[in-house]
């Protein structure tokens, strides 16, 4: 039973990793590509870590490590993607021509400074 649940979780992780990879290849501009990448990490890695916890039991050595790694990923991934996108925005990388809205300029200091 545990093995089945763990295998399903691994499959979920693999599915999101795959969709993230496809998104990185197919999305039109930096901003949406980064967005796909974050999904691949968050929803791709966390289920796999959960699977390792499920497979070996809550009190196991693996679970404590998985919790630690999961917390680190949950904190670093959004912060790093945020910094990456903000750097791209400040560097003036344009949005996809089909993008309908750009609220960034309201939050960023004038770049022509």
């Amino acid at each position: 039973m545990r093995t089945v649940v763990a295998a399903l979780l691994v499959l979920v992780g693999l599915w999101f990793s795959l969709s993230g990879a496809v998104g990185v290849l197919r999305m039109p501009d930096v901003y949406s590509r980064v967005q796909s990448g974050t999904k691949a990490i968050t929803m791709g890695a966390l289920p796999v870590l959960l699977a390792s916890a499920v497979a070996t039991g809550v009190t196991s050595y693996n679970t404590s490590r998985a919790v630690l790694i999961g917390l680190l990923i949950a904190i670093t991934n959004p912060a790093a993607s945020h910094a990456l996108v903000r750097a791209a925005y400040r560097a003036g990388i344009p949005q996809w021509s089909g993008a309908v809205r750009d609220d960034g300029h309201r939050h960023e200091p004038d770049r022509s400074r």
Partner: protein, 308 residues
């Protein structure tokens, strides 16, 4: 479909054949690696068996990798450490700021008198004007002033509150993880990787909050002293082993109960000295290079370059 045709393709279509070849190659490699994994019951190599069997009786430690790194092959670690120390010393020599000297005069000031004797009415040609303008421009960029241009990376005070918040949460957690790696890190663990973690924590803070926060830590004169103290402790541990037990990095401390913090004789002090030496060494090198600005001496005492 040939590579030549594709290089003519202006918008760079994805080279499917390259991707397929790379992915297939990786898949074959992974498959080979997985099928070649040692089974659980497979016999260990002789070296590994030797390390496993000697760790407990000879060193009183349950961690064979730590015994190899800081004990039975401690001399290798010793060598690596001093290789690192030599690298740190050379980087610091190359990146060191000019030292304050009493009565130092730049070339231009020192030559003023002689030049005015030789050539009382200097006329500056186009070349000279251009060279001086370029030099002034370079100094202005380096001087970090409000008008520093965008051609040098702007020295922002730090990143956004998102990144800073993440760094605030992560830095203590990573520091604790590094100390854990040193104190109880099961094989492999110890001071060498923990020193790397220490650098990582400082780099995280540097990235999130800017150099002003970490400068007090990283540019303090004491850091070099601490690093050399760590190296001295390593030498001491190794040499006492040579004198007392007949071989370099031999154990000369009493063995305590295996599994505890102090088990393994000299392993833990050696590892701690490595933590100090490696951590401070990496920090010194990294921040010496990150803080590298112009390295020439100012010609005039009130020149635009600033001491930092």
């Amino acid at each position: 479909m040939t590579g030549r045709q594709e290089s003519h393709d202006e918008h760079g279509r994805h080279r499917t054949w390259a991707a397929v070849a790379l992915v297939a190659g990786m898949a074959v490699l992974l498959l080979l690696a997985v099928t070649d994994l040692p089974r659980e019951a497979a016999p260990l190599p002789t070296v590994a068996r030797e390390a496993m069997t000697s760790a407990l009786p000879a060193w009183g430690s349950t961690e064979p990798v730590s015994v190899v790194v800081y004990g039975s092959r401690g001399f290798d670690t010793f060598g690596e450490t001093f290789l690192l120390l030599a690298a740190v010393a050379s980087v610091l020599l190359l990146t060191r700021r000019r030292e304050r000297r009493a009565g130092f005069q730049g070339e231009e000031v020192a030559a003023t008198r002689e030049r005015s004797e030789q050539d009382p009415h200097p006329t500056s040609g186009r070349n000279e004007r251009e060279a001086r303008a370029a030099e002034r421009e370079e100094e202005r960029e380096d001087s970090d002033g409000p008008d520093a241009s965008w051609s040098v990376p702007p020295r922002l005070p730090g990143l956004t509150v998102v990144v800073q918040g993440a760094a605030r949460v992560l830095a203590p957690a990573l520091a604790v993880a590094g100390l854990y790696l040193f104190a109880f890190g099961s094989s492999p663990g110890g001071g060498f990787p923990a020193g790397g973690v220490a650098l990582g924590v400082l780099l995280l803070l540097y990235a999130a909050f800017g150099r002003h926060l970490v400068r007090q830590v990283t540019s303090a004169a004491g850091v070099e002293v601490v690093e050399l103290a760590g190296a001295a402790v390593i030498v001491l541990i190794a040499v006492v082993g040579l004198v007392a037990e007949g071989s370099l990095t031999a154990n000369w401390l009493p063995l305590t109960r295996p599994g505890g913090f102090r088990s393994g004789g000299i392993l833990q002090p050696f590892s701690g000295a490595e933590l100090v030496e490696v951590g401070t060494g990496l920090v010194l090198v990294t921040f010496a290079l990150l803080d590298l600005r112009h390295d020439w001496a100012d010609d005039t005492p009130e020149g635009p370059g600033r001491e930092q």
